[in-house]
């Protein structure tokens, strides 16, 4: 009988009959733009515009090219961790150890650099490799030790930090400030854009392409959205989880190298402590669902930028750091509330 069956509701789209059914309502052009850019991005852009307007109107220096570059370089390291954290969260995990891994990698890069007679490439490669190993350790603890990612990486947050302190004896290591490669990373630029920003854009771009345009990325969304569905569909989810934590470790390793480059020495703690919260804040502000399955690199980048502009602007305007804390908290809430108002969700229960 199905062959001859009359069309079912969703299919019919005669204007009159369906005026009341939602699927038939024609979206307004505004609505369609909103759909394409995404509610999250639109609200982040609105928040960004507002913040820029307020700051710019108080101090026109804000718009100087050099300041934009200052903002870009200031957010590069936390931005790197935020974009990779986005991938981890989309997959249904969370990596709290990224800051410690960056610290360990920073120290290691400087120590290897020094030990190999100032061979920067070895320092770089070593740091990224160590990051990768740390990530694999995280992944293995989670998958094979059956430890929840939050507690596993809280544990390795402490452990990796301890290792960084032990190998460096708690001291800043080496001096990379006269090596051309490290200098290029810290202060060089290509086409007028600082290397630091290029690194962030490159990593973010790769991750974006992976998430949106490869089957790997789509499987990551599936894994985070419903791991049973992913597993039953034949996805080797353990391998994915391992790979994603390894990736996070690797990117944290890159961040560690950049910390070394920027400060001129390997820093076991300084400059990497607290980065995990910044990364999670940016990812969450970018609308990444902390339960997994939803999020986008672009939104996270916008959130990173928003936070960076806000902090830069407040410092520029000479706002006292105590007020900065209050303002930052308020803006975080406002930015998310804007998103939620647009989505028209009902006000029941715990969001996301």
């Amino acid at each position: 009988m199905t062959g001859t069956r009359a069309p079912l509701p969703a299919q019919t789209s005669t204007a009159a009959a369906d005026a009341t059914t939602p699927s038939a309502r024609r979206p307004s052009p505004l609505h369609r733009v909103l759909e394409a850019v995404g509610v999250t991005n639109v609200s982040l852009l609105i928040a960004l515009a507002l913040v820029i307007l307020v700051i710019g109107s108080q101090n026109a220096d804000f718009f100087r090219g050099s300041n934009l570059i200052v903002i870009g370089t200031a957010v590069a390291i936390s931005g790197l961790l935020a974009v990779v954290q986005t991938v981890v969260i989309i997959a249904g995990g969370l990596d709290i150890s990224v800051g410690s891994v960056a610290g360990l990698a920073s120290v290691a890069s400087a120590m290897i650099f020094t030990a190999t007679g100032s061979t920067a490439v070895l320092g770089l490669a070593g740091a990224v490799l160590i990051g990768l190993l740390c990530g694999l350790v995280n992944g293995a603890i989670i998958v094979y030790g059956r430890v929840n990612p939050v507690i596993a990486t809280l544990a390795t947050l402490a452990a990796f930090k301890g290792i960084a302190q032990l190998i460096s004896n708690g001291r800043a290591q080496g001096y990379t400030g006269s090596d051309p490669i490290f200098i290029f990373l810290a202060r060089g630029s290509i086409l007028g854009i600082p290397t630091l920003i290029w690194v962030l854009l490159l990593v973010a771009g790769l991750l974006h392409v992976m998430l949106k345009y490869t089957d790997i990325g789509r499987k990551i969304y599936a894994l985070g959205g419903n791991d049973a569905a992913a597993r039953l569909a034949g996805i080797n989810i353990n391998r994915y989880i391992l790979a994603i934590f390894a990736l996070a470790g690797m990117v944290a390793g890159i961040a560690g190298v950049l910390i070394t480059a920027r400060t001129g020495s390997g820093q076991p703690i300084s400059g990497s402590e607290g980065l995990e919260l910044e990364a999670i804040t940016a990812a969450a502000l970018g609308g990444t669902a902390l339960k997994g399955g939803k999020g986008s690199i672009i939104s996270t980048l916008l959130a990173v930028l928003l936070l960076g502009v806000l902090i830069n602007g407040m410092t520029l305007l000479g706002v006292n750091p105590f007020w900065q804390n209050v303002a930052k908290g308020t803006l975080l809430v406002v930015a998310v509330v804007i998103q939620q108002l647009r989505s028209g969700e009902r006000r029941v229960g715990i969001p996301q």
Partner: protein, 517 residues
């Protein structure tokens, strides 16, 4: 159709499986042959789903072996089984919430060249699949997984199977929330697959479907294979006897007697308890409906007709855009379902896993959830009273569980459903809305649930029962309201209702609309 001489595609030999003290399967040996539908029957908790999970590599068997085309195989993950050509459609659809329907269907097998994921090809392919399967109208490939209704979720599971190239295909209660129309499409597709030589396993509690589809019928009881019968050589009675181990025919005779016949209820039976006046929500328009004390109103319609949506609007779970819900003459101010519950409305939703169950809590916790306030004194839960209540319902509905302290996720699907029902039966509200109350419930328990519905009606409760199983609607209701496209398409009295007339109402308007286009 097929002769026993055809070599089987898949053989399960001496399969045994137990979970912490529960023997789900014991020494089950089954042959699954190409070009044949093998039906699997058994009471709730008999081990059907467990057997399918073993076939799919989702769970390893404790004992026994699988042989594929004569060769022993070990499936250590669903991926292995799929690679070998075995695919299982699960009882609880697993849907990825934030990706499209299209991706959901092809999850794990996305069209990609050199890892590059081809969105357009995917959409085209799913459109074609929908066309071929006849589900085009029921589901839009671009919708997000989180927005799907129970039936649509089930259709996705079905599409996953129908679009994969497999030698063995197993369905675990695929029609439990589908209406007859979708069921027909599914059957047509299954028959086509059978013709092309696929070996099919089909699990269902619906006798009608079994006899319509199956070539052979295997019956499980308490994890043991009781026997396998050619469909042509057996009948309902024998199957029931095999399933429950005793004659259950008496149960089938306990048909609904009609509340009006009950002397107790008759005096107040015409008193309207639930009145909907022009109820309108996002997906429901202008619904007028009255349910009287002691009356059972059946709500029928195709998938997506808006029945579940109406129920949610009535309990205040989706916002009313217009109209009024009146209970016992008092218009309600509905902000949350809490308001509806306080006003005396109970609602057992359709999707037990998503909307009803606390998967990691015990049977007891799940069962007493809606009556906790009544069980508490000074906010302390009276555990003795609670235990008595739970024991009573576990026994009455024959919930198969080692103890009320078992985590509910470890129960079989049908037994979970019984607990959801028991939660609301225990509350005894003035108005009870049941959305697909017997979804996945076995024959015996179904009869028990019908009896309870009767009893509730007799005691003056107003019942609104949503069901996609027409015989159920017909057998249970005093009055049948048919919905279509978010509106009421018509109403049939108990005496005038037939399957044909209900179906006509459910799709009639469409035909008119389609023609006017």
């Amino acid at each position: 159709m097929t002769t026993t001489s055809t070599p089987p595609t898949l053989v399960a030999e001496g399969i045994g499986k137990s979970f912490a003290g529960v023997h789900a399967l014991t020494d089950v040996t089954l042959e699954i042959r190409p070009g044949e539908v093998l039906a699997l029957m058994g009471e709730n908790g008999a081990g059907k789903s467990t057997l399918l999970k073993i076939l799919s590599g989702d769970q390893p068997p404790d004992t026994g072996t699988l042989r594929m085309h004569g060769e022993p195989v070990t499936f250590s993950s669903p991926a292995d089984a799929m690679a070998a050509g075995v695919r299982v459609i699960y009882q609880e659809p697993e849907i990825v919430p934030h990706v499209s329907v299209a991706e959901n269907v092809y999850i794990g097998r996305l069209p990609a060249t050199a890892r590059r994921f081809n969105r357009r090809a995917l959409r085209e392919r799913v459109r074609a699949d929908l066309e071929r399967t006849g589900f085009t109208g029921a589901i839009d490939p671009d919708t997000l997984g989180s927005r799907l209704s129970a039936a649509q979720r089930q259709l996705i599971e079905i599409l996953r199977a129908l679009t994969s190239d497999t030698a063995v295909l197993a369905f675990d209660e695929p029609t439990s929330s589908l209406s007859d129309a979708e069921t027909e499409s599914l059957f047509r597709l299954i028959r086509e697959l059978r013709e092309s030589g696929v070996a099919i396993v089909y699990v269902s509690h619906r006798m009608k479907e079994i006899f319509e589809l199956a070539d052979r019928i295997a019956v499980l009881r308490d994890g043991r294979l009781i026997g396998v019968r050619p469909a042509a050589e057996t009948d309902e009675e024998e199957l029931v006897r095999m399933m429950v181990g005793r004659d259950l025919s008496s149960m089938f005779q306990r048909r609904h007697t009609g509340a009006a016949d009950q002397p107790v209820a008759s005096t107040e039976s015409r008193r309207p308890v639930l009145e909907l006046r022009g109820v309108t929500s996002d997906d429901v328009s202008d619904v007028d409906l009255v349910v009287h004390a002691g009356e059972v109103v059946g709500l029928a319609g195709l998938v997506g007709a808006g029945r579940s949506e109406l129920a949610r609007a009535v309990v205040g779970d989706v916002p009313l855009r217009g109209g009024q819900v009146v209970v016992n003459g008092r218009p309600l101010r509905l902000r949350t379902p809490g308001d509806a519950v306080a006003a005396g409305i109970g609602f057992a939703p359709e999707e037990r896993k998503a909307d009803a169950l606390l998967m990691h809590r015990t049977v007891r916790d799940n069962l007493s959830l809606a009556v906790l306030d009544r069980l508490s004194r000074l906010r302390f839960v009276r555990t003795r009273a609670e235990r008595e209540l739970v024991d009573r319902y576990v026994e009455q509905l024959r919930v198969r569980t080692p103890s009320p302290e078992q985590q509910i996720r470890k129960l079989s699907g049908g037994n979970q459903q019984k607990v959801v029902l028991a939660r609301w039966l225990a509350r005894r509200p003035d108005v009870l809305i049941l959305d697909e109350p017997t979804r996945g419930v076995d024959v015996g328990a179904k009869a028990e649930i019908y009896a309870i519905i009767d009893e509730l009606a007799a005691s003056g409760v107003a019942l609104l029962v949503i069901s996609s199983e027409l015989p159920e609607v017909l057998g249970l209701s005093d009055r049948i309201v048919v919905m279509q496209n978010g509106r009421i398409a018509g109403e049939l009295d108990r005496d005038e209702a037939t399957e044909e007339r209900i179906l006509a109402l459910a799709i009639a308007d469409h035909a008119a609309e389609g023609a006017s286009r």
